[in-house]
Amino acid sequence: MTRKKVKLAYISNDSARKATFKKRKKGLLKKVSELKTLCGIDVCAIIFSPYDDQPEIWPSPLGVQRVLSRFKKMPEMEKSKKMVSQDSFLRQRIAKAYEQLKKQRKDNREKEMERVMFQSLTGSNVFLNMNMIGLNDLGLQIEHNIREICRRMETLNNIATMARPSNEEPSQQVEKSFGFDGQMNMEAMQKQQWLVDLMSTPPQQHFGFGGEEVMQPFADTINNNLWPNPFYP
C-alpha cells in the first residue's frame, strides 16, 4: 500500500477523484463488513455518489431494511445521542487530537528540561544561557526529580522496615533488598522503630529532612562505597 499523505480536501482532478472514490468505497464497505463479523452486530451503510443514480448499500436491500426498521423504532433521544454529522464528528476529532497535542508538548517540555538538568550536572551549565521562563521550568523540573528521588528512597526504606516481622532473619531480608554486607544491619534494626515513627508523619516533613536522616543507618556502608560523599566523612 502506498502511504502517501492525502490532503483532507475535495479532489479537484476528476479522474483522480473517481479512482479514489472507487478504492475508498470498497475499503469502507470491507471495514463495515469486518465490524459486523467481529462484533456480531447490526450495521448498514448507504452511499450516494455523483457517479451513480442508485445508492450503493450494504449488506443488502433486506439487510438495510432490517437495520433501518430497528433504527426507526429507537426513541429520538437514543438515536441522537450518538448521531454525528461531518461537522460534529470533525469537531470531536479536533478536540481529541488537541488533547493529545497538549500532552505530548508537556511531555516533551519535561524531557527537554531533564536534558538541560542532566547536562548541567556534568558542569556544562547550559542553564546560564536560559531566560527566566526556562530557568523557572528548570527549577521546577529539578524539584520534581528531587521529590521522586525522596519518594523512591522512602520506598526502599519501607522495604527494609517491612522486612522485620517475619520468620526470616531481618538482617537477611534487608541484605536481600540492598545487597549490602551484614555489618550495617544492626544499626538498621536499632533505627527501625524510629523509621516507622518517621514514616507515619505527614509527607511534607519528610521531604524537608527525611532524606538525610533516613540515610544515617547506612552511613558506614556509604564510606565503604565507591562514591565519595562529603556529607558523611
Partner: protein, 225 residues
Amino acid sequence: MSGMSSKKSKGRQKVEMVKMPNESNLQVTFSKRRTGLFKKASELCTLCGADIAIIVFSPGKKVFSFGHPCVETIVDRYLTRNPPQISGTMQLIEAHRNASVRELNMQLTQVLNQLEIEKKRGEELNQMRKASQAQCWWEAPIEELNLPQLEQLKMSLEELKKNVGKQAEKMLIQSSNPPQFFAGSSSNAGGMNLPFDPNNNAAVFNPNNMMPHPGYNPGFGHGFY
C-alpha cells in the same frame, strides 16, 4: 494513533474474521473500529463529495450513526427513492455546511501535523536520553538506582537548584524591566520572589508552571524572555 502511554500496546495483529470470543476484547474492538469506520466515511465524503450514512448498533444495544449531510436526510432519500429536492434555501444551507466542513478539515489537518512534529521530537529526545544513559549512571531511571546513588544524585540536584536560583536572581537584578512582567509571579512587586524556591522553603510542586510554550524554545534566548 494514540500510542503515547509509556506502556506499549501489542501493536498490529492479524485477527481472524469470526465473532470475537473474548467479551471485553469485543467491546474494545467495537469502539476502535467504529471510530475508524466513521473516520473513513468522513474522508470519503470530503475527498469525493459523496453523501453517506452508516448506522451501527453496539454490543451494548446503543445505536451509533454517521451521516453526511445528515443521517435522517440520507435515510429518507433512500426510502422514498425520490431525488433530493434542492430548494434555494437548502442550497444555501448546503453551502454553509460545506464551508464549515472545509474549515474544520483544515483545522484538523493543522493539529494533526503539529502532533506529528511533537511526536517526532519526543522520539528524538528519547533517543538522546538513551544514548547518554549509556555513559552517565545518574540518567538511569530512578528505580534502577541504589540508595547511595540516590543520595548523591539528590544532593547534586539540590546544589544545581541553588545555582539555578542564583542565576535567576542575578538576571532579575540585571534586568531593567519591572518584575511584574514575569509569568507566574502574582503580586510580587519589585521583590525577589521566584516561582520556584531555591532554598527549598516549601516543597510544593505546582503543575501549572509546567505548561509548555509554543515551539521548542526551552528558554534560551536574549533578553528577559
